[in-house]
């Protein structure tokens, strides 16, 4: 049986298409903590765009 191995590159693509915070969480699910930490800025940029609170 094939097992999907999540990759950082896949996560980056999913983050670009994320529309909700749930999408963000799904995008990085399966990555290691260290891999997720490496995406901290991409995650922040994505969430900033979603919440759209320019204050």
């Amino acid at each position: 049986m094939e097992v999907d191995v999540p990759s950082v590159e896949d996560a980056k693509k999913k983050l670009k298409n994320a529309k909700t915070i749930g999408d963000v969480k799904s995008a990085v699910a399966g990555l290691s903590q260290e891999q997720r930490n490496g995406l901290a800025r991409a995650i922040a940029d994505t969430i900033d765009a979603i919440v759209a609170l320019k204050v």
Partner: protein, 322 residues
Amino acid sequence: MLFPIYKLRPFYGGQFGVPGSESPYGIRMIPDATVLYVDSGHPEASDNNDGTDPTAPKSTVQSAINSTLLEPYSVIVVAGTVSEDVVTPDYATGPNYITLLGAGPSMYSPAWEGDDASTPSLDMRAVGWRVEGFRFYGKTSAAAIELRHTDSGANDIAIRTVIQNCLLDGLTTGRYGIWSHGCYDVWIVDCVFQLWHNAVAGGAIPLGVGTTPLAIPYRNHIVNCVFWDSDNGAIFPMNGGEVRGCMFQPTGYAYAMTQVLNTSIVANPGDDNVVHNNTFPGDYSIAGGYRPGAADAWLGNWADDTAEAEVGDNGITIARPT
């Protein structure tokens, strides 16, 4: 003749002990923001009040937060004693950018005792809330303040939180002071962390990071804080953050720290942080409780451990500890 029920927005003059209230427009942060008053000790306090009148305040903070009058940029002025556990709405429910302002007679008051020992006193789930002027009591199996970042509900993101001028008092039995699940752009400014004692089950951490479903804290600012007389300081792995102007006291009046400042931990590495203008007494090394991220810059701090190669003869740090 029947008149419509109509109430002007509150317009109060300065109040002693309330920073910013000397403004002729009251303490609101922008002209159309509502101000709600909470005072558990006021004889007229009731959650049936709408809270806009300081002579008829609400009796609980949660009631003010749940009020339909609350809107972005509202200020909730809190006096008395807070003996409740409070949960903010998530960011989607909102409102976001609310200020909880302690208005008591001393440096850090009112006291925020909370209620249940295993529930955070202040559970923050929305964007950009500011908490200022409180004395938070430690709890034996929960945090005084918990910053959510999707670890609870999907829309719980306490990004851009500001915690300013608060005392996080472990009272020797507290477990966690401020506990983050990875929120970014958080400011922790002018806060004091004291009396966090490892006798509590699991150990005491005044400022720490819990489970992080997304990432560890990013672009956080820990500025001008005091960590003293505790068994640990800040165990706060983060990326691209800063620790600036803080005073750490590894050997305190009653307690001595095992971990003083960790911007990285083995199980959850942090990186790229700037740590400067802090006071680092004692053994300036990883063994001494100072653990940096791999590419952190720990420059321009004061350390008396001039025997270390990372500390200049003048006591100024020139590299991260090893």
